[in-house]
């Protein structure tokens, strides 16, 4: 809609219009994604929360989705942008299937496509406010990569987004090794997710673990981790740091 707004600089109206159309901050966000390569493919874990600022507003959001036959996409950040990306990928995979010629887009191709999309949006100062994790298996080769909202992209054996960068990566660096079994992989992811649950304010105790192998994608039913809140430090949280406010004692 055109509206005239007098502004001091020369080209007034058009810029005012554009300002309101660009993404300036995220509104409903998902927190970390943690993913690792294991013996048969890739495992990806995320919780099902969507925060509205500091409110844990939505508790049933699936942040990991299957893409085509060979890939899995997980996203943290703005949920509506994630849904937009899923629409782009839907169109992409639809056209790929329509060729019906024995060729198909693998995880590497999708990762690079997403990198192009994210980077181009960043260049227009209208980013898709997500950090994406793309994992998959094609022709026996596992693939795991990440793209950020500014278009930084890379591949690795294990990745984490958001708070996971700070809390999960150190664990993965210490304990990940090649050819993890499925059980060990899940244990490792649960360890990371438990730390995130304790320490990340926007995490909720309802998570899904998705697995992708040559055969295809399986997303687990949502479940909770067992937590323990009786640590002695939790009993008296302000011990040693009482400060001047006497209300808590």
């Amino acid at each position: 809609m055109t509206f005239t707004v007098p502004i001091d600089n020369g080209d007034s109206v058009k810029i005012a219009e554009e300002e309101s159309q660009r993404t300036l901050y995220p509104y409903v966000t998902g927190t970390s994604i943690v993913a690792i390569k294991y013996k048969d493919g890739v495992l990806m874990a995320s919780d099902m929360g969507g925060s509205y600022g500091s409110t844990l507003r939505y508790k049933n959001i699936e942040r990991v989705k299957a893409i085509g036959k060979h890939s899995l996409l997980g996203a943290s950040g703005e949920i509506s942008d994630f849904q937009e990306i899923l629409r782009y990928l839907d169109e992409l995979t639809l056209n790929d299937n329509m060729w019906d010629d024995g060729n198909s887009l693998g995880p590497k191709e999708i990762h690079n496509y997403l990198t192009r999309v994210m980077y181009n949006r960043r260049n227009k100062f209208n980013p898709l406010w997500n950090t994406l994790v793309l994992g998959g298996v094609k022709n026996g080769k596992s693939y795991l990569g990440m793209v950020s909202m500014i278009g930084v992209s890379f591949e690795d054996d294990h990745v984490a987004t958001g708070f996971g960068n700070h809390l999960a990566r150190p664990i993965l660096r210490d304990e990940w090794h090649a050819d993890l079994s499925f059980e060990d992989g899940v244990k490792l992811l649960e360890k990371c997710m438990r730390v995130l649950l304790y320490r990340d304010r926007s995490a909720i105790n309802k998570l899904q673990i998705a697995k992708i192998t040559e055969e295809g994608v399986t997303v687990s039913q949502p479940y909770s981790l067992k937590t323990f809140w009786e640590f002695s430090s939790f009993h008296n949280p302000t011990a040693g740091a009482e400060g001047s406010c006497r209300m808590l004692s």
Binding site: W99, D101, G102, N103, L105, G106, K108, E109, N112, R116
Partner: protein, 277 residues
Amino acid sequence: MFRNQYDTDVTTWSPTGRLFQVEYAMEAVKQGSAAIGLRSRSHVVLACVNKAQSELSSHQRKIFKVDDHIGVAIAGLTADGRVLSRYMRSESINHSFTYESPLPVGRLVVHLADKAQVCTQRSWKRPYGVGLLVGGLDESGAHLYYNCPSGNYFEYQAFAIGSRSQAAKTYLERRFESFQESSREDLIKDAIMAIRETLQGETLKSSLCTVSVLGVDEAFHFLDQESIQKVIDTFEKVPEEEEDAGEGDAEPEAATGAAGTGEQGGSGDQDVAPMEI
């Protein structure tokens, strides 16, 4: 094919359901010098006869690299071929940039065919006057396609286009069943022998032909003159009687001495001047 009242416009049908302009465009392909393609499970060989405008000029380029995994040989209006090769290179590189993955040749060929079809359905355009033999790889292995000015494309095990291609086709028809499992070397040899058929009597020399190869583990590249000559020498015993000009062929390596094959050399034509291509 004779002139008739329905052949002025590409957008005019004849009463018998033909588009004559498109068919005339396919005639133009037959005027160009021969180009040949063959494929096995893992390799594609494209070869062509070098044709020069005159004794003074160099020969026209008929084989183009589109990407590491795709090559194209053309016959017909070279200018149209050059433009289409540029289009193919562009499509290939755009795909590589977006997906970091090679464009499957089957998809490129469909884009090319769709582009050609447009020219058969616009009154202000004309069909491209060039036939393209596209060889390349995709997930299912090596493929060879022929794109024609009508906008059709076909997949082949082996094919030849251009002038005197019928002779090459006859040769290929006899042997195509073995191509799928052929080794790379045998495929190259068959390509050169098919080229020889189109020369009909002229002595086969490496300077007369261009050969290119691509494969599952081999990027598209041209074979150099020496390698081509080596292959020729394995089956062509050069009769030196009338050759005073002393062209590239050295005295035949008697070691391999393919007895009888090249003995008669020029079949019908007596001493065709080697310069006349």
